[in-house]
Symmetry: C2
Subunit: 288 residues, 2 copies
């Protein structure tokens, strides 16, 4: 497994792969890899000849009061896991390599960030789209793989790729969960044992929303109220948002339909967790 | 000479050229081609195996009170000229093909547009960088060629390419002029005979600035005043800006040095013209 730290070497390596007639899958990560990331990598491997993983804790997508400094890091563990999954190349640039002095260009998606996480994390998605556009130009992938856990991120990146005519296929992979339902996230490592119990309320409340929908409830506000009450029954929880929205525009809906996105951001202690689900009609209603 | 009108076909054609091991030069234009454009094309041909020219009058780089509707067009003449120069492929998408409904992504360079033309044309450079980024993703060129007449545009695009790590060489080509010194521009076609005479004051005032510099003048304000007086002596002229600035940051300078950029935008009648020069020390002073 090759490790590259400079943009120039990365572009040369990507060029060599393409010239050799092979295809490239990219999985961009911020490291501290867990089973969710490894699943993205396995999907990437299925689609292309070569699998490239980037590890970069991107400072521009953290707000001034967010957890950039505290964000968990484990380079040695990451490299071992990547190698085990069969990654061909890990690209891990420094912040200075990624953002040389004088850099002043950003890629901005206008409307999609005005919802959900974009509201409580101003500038976050500008940081995401800019770094992902840069990574795409560095790695020149045929396919890039992202998790559906970060639903809005996936939507924003897909929009960017479409709007800027990037010749890249974006693949979204269903959220990977712990056995008890908690969506995998590097930030789960912040949780105390008690907080971790409360964190289960996110996935359980998504199940609750789906059950209400399958029982015939179509009023978004009613479901939202139920979900909110349910989560707040658990200690240490504080709601950032509960949204029932259109899965394409991310605009709030009043009336639920099949496919409506239920998206949550909840603080559990000091840790901000997100989760989401699309409402589906169950074949065997009420049973899940 | 091939003519392509859809993004998909353009990407396929570019992919086929690259797969065949050939290099691509792109000259982006808004059509109504003149000798300036043809010079860019000849430079492109020297650098690459295949020469692609785009013709697209980009609505997003025109302000609400600018000349989008009136902008001169001559598709038939353009295609004839392109063919004569040896263009391999002309890409001429419609506005709807370029900006499908729902598009909401832009590429924004922050600081460089806060000078010169960016001040009187708010949003102009966002339109330029976004469409050029899109064209780069469509045509996937090794080299792209732009005129130095649009100095700020060249600076902004070069910055974008660097900041977003686009693997493209940007080449700037010196301004091509009419025999009497007028910088070639599609907008020259708007000028009446009398206005055209007044328009010569732009280039002449640049020569005047250089002469003052070579006579020892180092005060930017003094040169600016001279240039302004000179231009305003000519009928139908109205100054948009006269700037003496750093050629990299485009920030105003107080003291002139070799390489200082002198940049002008002047309305002659209703037509807005631009021109620029870098101050050079003459070997034989005062003679030119």
């Amino acid at each position: 497994m090759e490790i590259i730290k400079t943009v120039k070497q990365m572009q040369q390596a990507a060029h060599a792969i393409r010239t050799g007639g092979e295809s490239i899958a990219l999985v961009p990560t911020m490291g501290f890899l867990h089973e969710g990331h490894l699943t993205l990598m396995r999907v990437g491997k299925e689609h292309c000849d070569r699998l490239i993983v980037s590890i970069f804790v991107n400072p521009t997508q953290f707000g001034p009061n967010e957890d950039l400094e505290a964000y968990p890091r484990d380079t040695e563990g990451d490299l071992r896991k990547a190698e085990n999954v069969g990654v061909d190349l890990v690209f891990m640039p420094s912040a200075r390599e990624m953002y040389p002095q004088g850099a002043q260009t950003s890629v901005v998606v206008k409307d999609l960030p005005r919802h959900l996480c974009g509201l409580s994390r101003p500038g976050h998605f500008d940081g995401v789209t800019t770094v992902v556009a840069k990574l795409f130009h560095m790695v020149n992938p045929h396919v890039a793989v992202f998790g559906q856990k970060d639903y809005q991120q996936l939507a924003v990146i897909s929009r960017m790729v479409m709007d800027l005519d990037m010749d890249i296929q974006i693949i979204g992979v269903p959220t990977v969960r712990e056995r008890d339902g908690l969506a995998m996230s590097s930030r789960n490592s912040y949780l105390s044992a008690e907080e971790r119990q409360s964190a289960l309320s996110l996935k359980k409340s998504l199940n609750l929303a789906e059950r209400l929908f399958n029982e015939g409830e179509r009023r978004a506000q009613a479901v939202k109220d139920f979900v909110q009450s349910y989560i707040l029954e658990h200690p240490h929880t504080e709601i950032d948002y509960i949204a029932l929205c259109d899965p394409v525009t991310l605009e709030d809906v009043n009336t639920l339909t099949e496919g409506t996105l239920v998206a949550l951001a909840v603080r559990v202690g000091k840790t901000r967790l997100i989760d989401n689900a699309r409402l589906r009609k169950q074949k065997k209603s009420k049973k899940q």
